[in-house]
Each structure stands twice: as structure tokens, then as C-alpha cells.
């Protein structure tokens, strides 16, 4: 699915960042994730959601030929971002004032490595579970003179419904509330057929289905109405 978003919903510095990443072909392999796709959907569909944090996460596919990418530390350095490495995990983030840029990859079951090096982009990403869901039927959005890829509203909602129940850390309750709030808003625009397509393509354990059901219950979301049901599995 392709969308055009006019005018840009982002502030100037975010536009510069996204345009630069787009120009080096980053979005052929990556997605903008986290709260930021909500900014696009809020503007396009008139959703009542204006909240976002000053950290911007990008999900990247791990298997990219080394010569297909660009040295992102150099690119981000030119934009004024400073590299910060978490010495305990090895994960790298890029900081400019209060703004943080971080890269995520899908963590497969049983993997324990706290960081994944991405030679094509010369960055060290944080592996997280369920990132693969975000890559199912992503949306290409054209903004001004560049394009970026973001998860579809359906993939974003399914992902948030799962991770809301799995948040850890001291601000887990606040993050859970934020995840569920986004799900409530996205539920207004998702297509039940597209949600079904995601459930067919992504095998989910009973525990994961239970997480989805719990999130829906906590937000009074009617699961059948938004395509959240499993047939014959």
C-alpha cells in the first residue's frame, strides 16, 4: 500500500533525518517504528493521537548484503548526531540534544545476544521479539520529496497488543498504557481482513494469543470486529 502525506507531519529535524535515510535506500530494508508511525496515521486518518516521545526507532532486516547499505554512523554524524554505545549490551544509539535514534532487529526465539551487529549499516542494533510482525505488508508513505516505510496500521496494532503485556523495566506500566492507547486509536481504522491476513502469516503460540486477548479485554476492544480470531489452529 502506498500513501501520500501532505503536508509533512514531522518537524524539520525529523524530516531531514528521514530524507537522508531515504536517500541512501535505508527504507528498502528498514521501517520507522515506535510511536512515530502514529504521527502519520493521525494526520492521514484524523485520529486523535498526538503523543510521541523524542526517541525514534527503526526496525531493520538483519540479512542485507554488506555492500547494499551505507555507513549510518557517518550519515548521522553529518546530521549532528553523536554515537553513544551502551557498554553493558553493546547496543548503539545516536543522540542529538533530547533526540535519540536507535535500530532494532527481530529477535528469534532462543537467541540471547543483547546486541546484533549490522555490517551493511555499520550499526549495532537491539534485538527484540515480534519485530517481524511489523514487516508484514508495510506501507510506503511519500512525504514532500522523499518516501519512507512504516508498518501497516494492522501490523502495528497486533504488535502493540502483544508487547503491551510483555513490557519490562521501571516504566513498564506507562509504556503499556501508551501501547494500549495506540491500539485503541488504531482499532478505529484497521481492516479486519488485513488483520486476518497477518494472523495467517504469523504463527502465534497460545501464550501470545492470550496476550492479545488480555490487551483487548483491558481496552474493551471487540476482537472479532477487528479481525482478531483464529480458525482451525
Amino acid at each position: 500500500m502506498d500513501l501520500a502525506c501532505k503536508p509533512s507531519p514531522f518537524e524539520a529535524s525529523v524530516n531531514i533525518l528521514l530524507r537522508s535515510l531515504s536517500q541512501v535506500g535505508f527504507f528498502d530494508y528498514g521501517l520507522m517504528v515506535g510511536s512515530w508511525p502514529m504521527v502519520v496515521y493521525a494526520q492521514m486518518y484524523g485520529l486523535r493521537y498526538a503523543l510521541r516521545t523524542n526517541d525514534i526507532d527503526f526496525a531493520v532486516v538483519e540479512a542485507v548484503r554488506k555492500n547494499a547499505g551505507t555507513r549510518l554512523p557517518d550519515l548521522l554524524g553529518q546530521l549532528g548526531y553523536e554515537l553513544l554505545t551502551d557498554y553493558s549490551s553493546g547496543v548503539e544509539k545516536f543522540v542529538q540534544d533530547t533526540f535519540e535514534v536507535e535500530f532494532l532487529v527481530h529477535r528469534r526465539g532462543g537467541t540471547v545476544s543483547p546486541a546484533v551487529s549490522l555490517p551493511a549499516w555499520q550499526v549495532v542494533a537491539q534485538p527484540l521479539p515480534f519485530i517481524d510482525i511489523l514487516f508484514l505488508h508495510p506501507v510506503m508513505v511519500t512525504i514532500e520529496d522523499y518516501s519512507l516505510r512504516i508498518p501497516s496500521p494492522e501490523a502495528l496494532m497486533v504488535h502493540k497488543l502483544i508487547i503491551a503485556q510483555r513490557r519490562t523495566g521501571r516504566d513498564r506500566l506507562a509504556k503499556k498504557e501508551k501501547d494500549l492507547q495506540q491500539c485503541s486509536v488504531l482499532a478505529e481504522i484497521v481492516s479486519a481482513d488485513k488483520v486476518q491476513r497477518i494472523l495467517h502469516e504469523k504463527r502465534m503460540s497460545k501464550v501470545v494469543r492470550k496476550d492479545i486477548a488480555t490487551s483487548c479485554m483491558e481496552k474493551n476492544l471487540e476482537m472479532d470486529a477487528i479481525g482478531l480470531y483464529w480458525i482451525g489452529k
Binding site: L51, N54, L84, D97, D171, E177, K178
Partner: protein, 109 residues
């Protein structure tokens, strides 16, 4: 009731953002502590009727400003670390300001 619930989500979002800024500020502080402080300058020294100019590192030590003589090569090697420290200090200041702003909003309830 609905409005109250929505306010709570904004409140949580602000708390989450405050925590993020706080963690980032701590991380920045750690990084800054590992970098040399001060700025590069030049000192002029007159000796035997001649004037010599050499690079130096100016930094504050308590209430005094100290000068450390550097070789030209030493000064060039130090420059990237000093520039990085300046950028990180600017980020730290921005984060501390944001934390104070969010705290002020949160304290009003």
C-alpha cells in the same frame, strides 16, 4: 470518566518521556566524564626578544583556569574528543531542561 482516563494516558506518557530523558542524561554524563575537558587555545610567550606561540589546553580547575602546553600533533589529536564533549554537554543541558519542564507539568497534576 473517559476524559479522566485520557488525561492519565498523557500523564503516563510524560512520565515515560521523563524517565527516558533521565536515563539518557545519566548515560551522557558517564560518557562526558570519560572525555577531556576544556578548549584548545594558543599562548604567546616572549623569550630573548622573540615571541613564541604554542597550542594549549585551557580548562577550569576549581576557581582557576589552567593551561596545559600541547604539541601541535597533541592538539590535533585532542580536538575530536573536545568537540564530542561539547556536543554531549549540549545534549545533556537540553535533556536536563526537558526533565525540568516535564517535572513542572507533572507537579501541577
Amino acid at each position: 470518566m473517559r476524559a479522566e482516563k485520557k488525561d492519565q494516558s498523557v500523564f503516563n506518557m510524560l512520565k515515560s518521556e521523563r524517565d527516558r530523558c533521565f536515563e539518557l542524561a545519566e548515560r551522557l554524563l558517564q560518557e562526558i566524564d570519560q572525555l577531556p575537558k576544556g578548549s584548545l587555545g594558543e599562548r604567546k610567550v616572549k623569550s630573548n626578544g622573540k615571541e613564541y606561540i604554542y597550542p594549549c589546553l585551557r580548562y577550569r580547575f576549581g576557581s582557576k583556569v589552567e593551561y596545559k602546553h600541547l604539541s601541535q600533533q597533541g592538539a590535533e589529536e585532542l580536538r575530536p574528543a573536545l568537540e564530542r564533549r561539547k556536543k554531549l554537554e549540549k545534549s545533556l543541558k537540553a535533556n536536563n531542561k526537558r526533565i525540568a519542564t516535564i517535572d513542572a507539568i507533572l507537579s501541577k497534576g
